[in-house]
């Protein structure tokens, strides 16, 4: 009897010693992105027999709510996906594990600098980003040719400045009798993404590194709202939802389309659809700076740190960032320079046309409360577009609101 007991004990020790470290990962990816993540996790598990990554897919709109409640209940996942723009709201509340002492030094040196900077909050690293998804410009080659927008060699004209874009869009719209010249979603795409892009091109700085606060210059904000308002009063754009904007572009009913790079997972697969992708236009004297956000991995704070789990989690998230060429099939741009310049990435369809945008990105400011400010920006943008608010009143409202959020 005694011998049996010893044997059982010994056996369980052996089993425990060889047991894998299991880490749970929350993601919110669906469709093409979802398959890619699941494949990558499978690959990681195959390459690392000592670690088992278990993916738990949470619905896109629910992940952050669930994460907050899971952290406050003391039972969050070992790793979670998180947008860079949302990071300060979590990091500022002590909800994330600082990663400085866990992450290998050389990985950070290879990052696109803007993105690496935003992965920090108050000097500490809280996230390992694995992509950038900027706002870019899509154009329909077939419609541009039909509208006579071709150069001497028969190539379609790709607008480099805002003036060019507006005049091409107008010409195509009128010549072909289309509903719009540029299709895009009215809320986030105009009020936040285009806003940040245009405001930055005007020379505006949205975040003041010295004072660590959001900075909005009245005149430049006003000019940005005037520009956005004109897009609609001139009839080149119309108010529409995200899905409508995409449908119009995909069905050859809109010559230009402003959207994120994530649609590149789908557009190249569509039949009879000749399109191109490029950086958004630039103002004279400016580079074509554009809005971008990033997907990152974070390690939520637990009541008690488990070093083995953290080590396994860090191993996974670093591996994922280094293998981002595979993930880039979803359209996103890699954040590690060596992946960004790799043939594996540049060999994907049209990536050469927009890979350079990775160096022109303006991420959201590292600011607690940005999620709230951003929501307000979408609404003010809509009010300006609908003619319910003048650019001047909108500017005042936004600046006042930011002040209120910062003070709260």
């Amino acid at each position: 009897m005694k011998r049996l007991l010893v044997a059982v004990l010994l056996l369980s020790f052996v089993l425990l010693a060889s047991a894998k470290t299991t880490i749970t990962v929350w993601t919110f990816f669906g469709g093409g992105e979802g398959f890619l993540v699941t494949e990558l996790i499978k690959k990681f598990n195959a390459e690392n027999p000592d670690i088992e990554v278990v993916e738990q897919i949470v619905e896109w709109g629910q992940l952050y709510n669930k994460l907050i409640t899971a952290i406050s209940a003391g039972d969050p996942p070992d790793v979670s996906v998180m947008h860079l723009a949302v990071l300060p709201d979590f990091a500022s509340r002590g909800a994330l594990t600082a990663l400085d002492k866990y992450v290998s030094k050389e990985i950070l040196q290879d990052y696109v600098p803007e993105i690496a900077a935003k992965a920090h909050y108050e000097g500490k690293l809280y996230a390992v980003p694995f992509d950038t998804h900027p706002l870019v410009l899509y154009y329909n080659k077939k419609l541009l040719r039909q509208a006579g927008l071709v150069g001497e060699k028969g190539e379609v004209l790709v607008p480099k400045t805002w003036d060019e874009l507006l005049s091409y869009a107008k010409q195509a719209k009128e010549k072909l009798g289309l509903e719009v010249g540029i299709s895009s979603e009215i809320g986030a795409m105009m009020g936040e993404r285009l806003f940040i892009a245009y405001y930055t091109q005007l020379g505006g700085q949205i975040y003041d590194e010295k004072t660590k606060t959001l900075k909005l210059e009245f005149d430049k904000v006003k000019k940005t709202y005037e520009f956005i308002s004109n897009l609609y009063t001139s009839g080149i754009m119309k108010t529409m939802s995200y899905d409508t904007a995409e449908s119009l572009f995909q069905n050859n009913q809109s010559p230009f389309h402003l959207n994120g790079v994530w649609v590149m997972a789908v557009y190249p697969t569509l039949k009879d659809f000749e399109f191109g992708v490029t950086s958004i236009p630039a103002l004279p004297g400016s580079k074509s700076y554009t809005w971008a956000d990033s997907h990152t991995w974070v390690i939520p704070k637990k009541p008690k740190d488990d070093p083995a789990k953290i080590a396994a989690a860090v191993k996974f998230i670093e591996w994922f960032a280094r293998n981002a060429a595979e993930w880039a099939k979803a359209g996103h741009l890699p954040v590690l320079k060596n992946v960004l310049n790799s043939e594996a990435f540049l060999g994907l369809p049209m990536r050469k046309d927009y890979a350079h945008v990775a160096n022109l990105v303006v991420p959201a400011p590292s600011m607690k409360g940005w999620v709230e400010v951003r929501q307000k920006m979408w609404e003010i943008g809509e009010a300006v577009i609908l003619g319910n608010m003048t650019p001047e009143a909108a500017t005042k409202e936004l600046i006042d609101f930011v002040k209120q959020v910062v003070e709260d």
């Binding site: 509903e179 108010t239 939802s241 809509e382 319910n388």
Partner: protein, 295 residues
């Protein structure tokens, strides 16, 4: 002996009742008491709550978005409840009458109620699309300019109302049908013998005898509509420019997106008080009509 048996019965009853009580206590009562306590705190969910007295309420008073959200909620109730009550009553009358395609009507109007909210909203979103949607195409076919329903500050709320009425009316029709079938046929026969016409039968028999159903439908619909969330969340996200944001959505945003749990609780408490008034009203009206029936 008899007393003993009675006591044993009572014991059994309590025993059977106990699991429900425990669950009610743990999952309803404790959270409720906690949430009441939380309205006096500033709490960002992840940190420790900080007592601020009536701070959340003073914040509410000066919060423009709270007031506009409250108004949008009331506006939604005003637009939704009357058509639901009137239409469900009329359709129930139609189904209850001697027409031949009753079965079809019954299922046709009840079917939407069995669908999930996302299916309903996505379907109507497609119908409302000004470029590709059925409604827009029909308007174009007769030479009208299509309305951009969900992106238009004037039409967005009515569009959500239409969707809601279509979705929820089936439930009220069933309530009315049940009520109609409880009215004894002899009342109508007697009235007919006395020479009452259809109009009189409707206003002196059907409508008064359905009083309890009217109250039930009216009050439950008001309470349900005050809590509107899903349709707005899916169809417009509160837009355009915040014109369809309702109080429930604002509570959700403040609590779960902007980390102001105490403030969200305080606003939810205001909504709770409003609903309590209507629930009390229902109770009173139901009691009086029950008394009348006893007489």
């Amino acid at each position: 002996m008899a007393v003993y048996r009675k006591r044993r019965h009572a014991l059994l009853a309590y025993l059977l009742f106990a699991p429900f009580c425990v669950l009610l206590f743990v999952f309803r009562l404790i959270p409720f008491v906690n949430s009441i306590r939380m309205i006096f705190y500033k709490w960002d969910i992840l940190g420790t709550p900080k007592y601020i007295g009536l701070g959340n309420f003073t914040r509410m008073m000066s919060d423009k978005v709270f007031w506009s959200s409250l108004w949008h909620t009331v506006y939604f109730v005003i637009l939704t409840v009357p058509p639901i009550v009137v239409l469900s009553f009329l359709i129930a009358l139609l189904i209850n009458s001697r027409i031949s395609f009753k079965g079809f009507l019954r299922s046709a109007f009840y079917l939407p109620y069995t669908l999930t909210i996302s299916v309903v909203c996505l379907t109507w979103q497609m119908l409302y699309n000004p470029y590709f949607g059925l409604i827009g195409r029909m308007m174009k076919a007769v030479g009208l300019q299509p309305i951009n329903w969900l992106a238009d500050p004037v039409w967005a709320m009515p569009a959500i109302v239409i969707t809601t009425v279509w979705w929820t009316i089936g439930f009220c029709i069933v309530l009315y049908l049940a009520g109609l079938q409880q009215i004894p046929a002899s009342y109508y026969e007697a009235a007919e013998l006395d020479g009452a016409n259809g109009f009189q039968r409707m206003f002196y028999i059907t409508i008064p005898l359905l009083k309890r159903v009217h109250v039930l439908v009216l009050v439950t619909q008001i309470i349900a509509s005050l809590q509107i969330f899903g349709q707005v969340y899916i169809m417009t996200g509160g837009g355009p420019a915040g014109r369809t944001r309702t109080l429930m959505q604002y509570v959700y945003e403040q609590g779960f997106r902007y980390f102001r749990m105490g403030y969200a609780q305080a606003m939810a408490f205001v909504l709770f008080l409003v609903m309590l008034v209507f629930a009390y009203l229902q109770l009173r009206l139901m009691m009086t009509s029950a008394k009348e029936e006893l007489i």
